[in-house]
């Protein structure tokens, strides 16, 4: 207990130095936590994807559509329980700065396939029965102050014109990882308009979404779907929802890797700073450690005091950093909601923060402990006076 007291008191002998080191660790852990959260947010779509859903798209490219007639064939395939479709609409709300994902969907089947989008039954009915109806995620509605019944105009970028929608419902996510920043409206509305204005673009969907009876059949169903439409006018590429999401991540993988590298560089920098602090500390106290050794304390007592002090400083900084990560991430998430629909600090980030703190504490203590343990007592005592 007394040695623990020595350890804690030693940590505060140079208050300013210790305080600055703790602040440094806090900022490093905060930066590390936020960067890891950015990486997690990048993969949020992947994490939220279901193993029981497949995505079928045009084999040439995602920008090419598929005929609506495929639906009948798809629903009859073994292992397919439900089929829905979605078109990336790419509409702009007032200005391009107000970006959010908006899709034309087949509403009934879509909401069945995505039970994580939770709608009030009344709002759901209203949405299904209004050709110009739309639903928005809770965060998106909060962002623009939308209420049910509001008229929302979107300026089409892929589909020309200004499109008027009536907000019929606001969905909330069943999980914290569910994207609440999306906007959905009826594909029928889009298709009817296309039939009138640009008929060659009518009766087309962007992607098909297949609900499986058994997730284990994903590979088999994918093969069957693509084989069915082989040599057709629009060949398909079917993959799991996770693989589909990962294909988007792959486009920006270099950025994710860069963020991951930077996050570890931050830890390396703070490791050097703490190691320097501990080296200075141990050098100043080498005489005291010699006194401890003289009194009969063994090498593990000395190493324990140095590592203990190192861990005390790093764990204090880490705890503060982790505590700050949550409110700062929340604030970041609000500011960046159009880029990161979910910006939650995941448990793995906290584990990584803690592991980083332990590694910093350990590495920072190794050299000073080795020095204090191996120095001859007589030499250590000469440093006093």
């Amino acid at each position: 207990m007394l040695l623990l007291k020595v350890l804690v008191k030693n940590a505060f002998r140079h208050r300013l130095r210790t305080l600055l080191t703790v602040v440094g660790i806090t900022i490093a852990i905060l930066a590390f936590g936020l960067l890891r959260t950015v990486v997690s947010a990048w993969y949020a779509g992947v994490e939220a994807s279901s193993a029981s859903r497949l995505v079928t798209r045009n084999a040439i490219s995602l920008i090419f559509s598929l005929p609506v007639s495929y639906r009948e064939k798809l629903i009859r395939m073994p292992g397919v329980k439900q089929v829905s479709s979605a078109n990336w609409f790419g509409g702009v709300y007032i200005t391009e700065k107000n970006f959010f994902p908006n899709f034309a969907i087949e509403p009934k089947t879509y909401l069945e396939l995505y039970p994580e989008f939770v709608l009030d039954p009344g709002e759901k009915e209203a949405f299904l029965h209004d050709r110009k109806g739309a639903v928005a995620g809770r965060k998106l509605a909060q962002r623009f102050g939308w209420k049910v019944g509001d008229s929302i105009p979107l300026k089409g970028t892929i589909f020309p014109g200004t499109w008027q929608f009536v907000l019929r419902g606001i969905y909330r996510g069943a999980e914290s990882s569910t994207d609440e920043n999306q906007f959905f409206f009826q594909w029928e509305y889009l298709n009817e308009t296309m039939l009138k204005t640009v008929p060659r673009r009518a009766n087309q969907v962007g992607i098909y979404l297949l609900g499986l009876t058994n997730p284990n059949m994903a590979a088999e169903v994918s093969r069957n779907v693509d084989a069915t439409f082989k040599n057709s006018q629009a060949e398909t590429l079917t993959e799991t929802e996770k693989a589909f999401q990962l294909s988007f991540i792959a486009m920006t993988e270099a950025i994710v890797v860069a963020i991951q590298i930077v996050s570890f560089v931050v830890i390396l920098i703070i490791m050097a700073v703490v190691a320097n602090t501990m080296a200075m500390t141990a050098r100043e106290r080498i005489g005291e450690y010699a006194v401890f050794k003289t009194l009969g304390f063994s090498w593990w007592h000395i190493a324990g005091m140095i590592f203990g002090e190192s861990f005390f400083i790093t764990i204090t900084g880490c705890a503060l950093g982790i505590a700050l990560t949550f409110p700062v991430a929340k604030s970041f998430g609000q500011q960046l909601s159009s880029f990161f629909p979910t910006f939650n600090v995941v448990r793995e980030t906290i584990y990584l923060d803690s592991a980083a703190a332990l590694v910093i504490g350990l590495v920072a203590g190794i050299f000073p402990a080795w020095r204090a343990v191996t120095i001859r007592i007589a030499e250590g005592l000469r440093r006093i006076g």
Binding site: L295, A378, L381
Partner: protein, 235 residues
């Protein structure tokens, strides 16, 4: 040089052909050469000699904080030159009380806690430790300063705390390296008187290194070291 005393009482410390050298800038500098002598139980020995004569090195070897190049040192029948570092640390904790020139107290601990430190390595209970510490501080006349930190005490008081720390484990020998070197004359006399009293009343074997003839006068035996050799015996 061989100089084994014909001690009439049992020797507590026995040195046999002890040699020690240091390496400085690639050169080997001999410090002690073939030293042999005994120190009797209850002795108060002063080791004197000019700077660099090897007296502090000799004290460090007897106290087990440095290793001999050759020879043997027996303290209380234990050949400390054959002990491992860990065994030696444990042995020091039980058998040697240290008094340093610069007191070497731990500045973040109170006088009481500084004295308690060596007892942490024993099997004593907390209550027993408190009793031992209180007694040691009473012996050195600092019972009323036990909650003071070293920085709140004078040099003489700090050295008395160091003496309390040295005697609290009831060690076999007390070693003191220039214990009055950093004190004014009055404080130095108090410390020397305290050490003399510990030797006389408690029968503690005291081995003191000093270059101060006044300090050495307190000892019952004075030995001189010159260039690594014992040169004479004075009582």
């Amino acid at each position: 040089m061989t100089d084994v005393s014909d001690a009439t009482v049992t020797p507590i410390v026995r040195l046999r052909s002890v040699s020690k050298s240091y390496r400085r800038g690639g050169q080997i500098v001999p410090v002690l050469e073939e030293i042999s002598f005994d120190i009797a139980q209850g002795e108060f020995l002063a080791l004197m000699g000019p700077s660099g004569s090897g007296k502090s090195t000799l004290l460090n070897l007897i106290a087990g904080i440095d290793k001999v190049d050759s020879g043997a040192i027996l303290v209380g029948g234990v050949d400390i030159t054959s002990l491992s570092e860990t065994e030696l640390a444990s042995w020091r904790g039980l058998n040697v009380g240290f008094i340093f020139q610069f007191y070497n107290l731990i500045p973040v601990l109170t006088a009481f806690e500084n004295v308690e430190l060596p007892l942490l390595l024993t099997s004593l209970s907390r209550r027993e430790r408190r009793e031992h510490v209180a007694m040691a501080l009473r012996i050195v006349g600092l019972a009323d300063r036990m909650d003071h930190r070293p920085g709140q005490l004078s040099g003489g008081q700090q050295q008395r705390v160091a003496i309390a720390r040295a005697v609290v484990t009831d060690p076999t020998i007390l070693v003191a390296d220039e214990p009055t070197g950093d004190l004014d004359r009055r404080s130095a006399e108090e410390i020397l008187h305290l050490m003399e009293r510990l030797n006389r009343e408690s029968g503690k074997t005291v081995i003191m290194v000093t270059h101060d003839p006044r300090a050495a006068e307190q000892a019952r035996t004075i030995r001189h070291l010159e260039k690594g050799f014992l040169t004479d015996v004075a009582a």
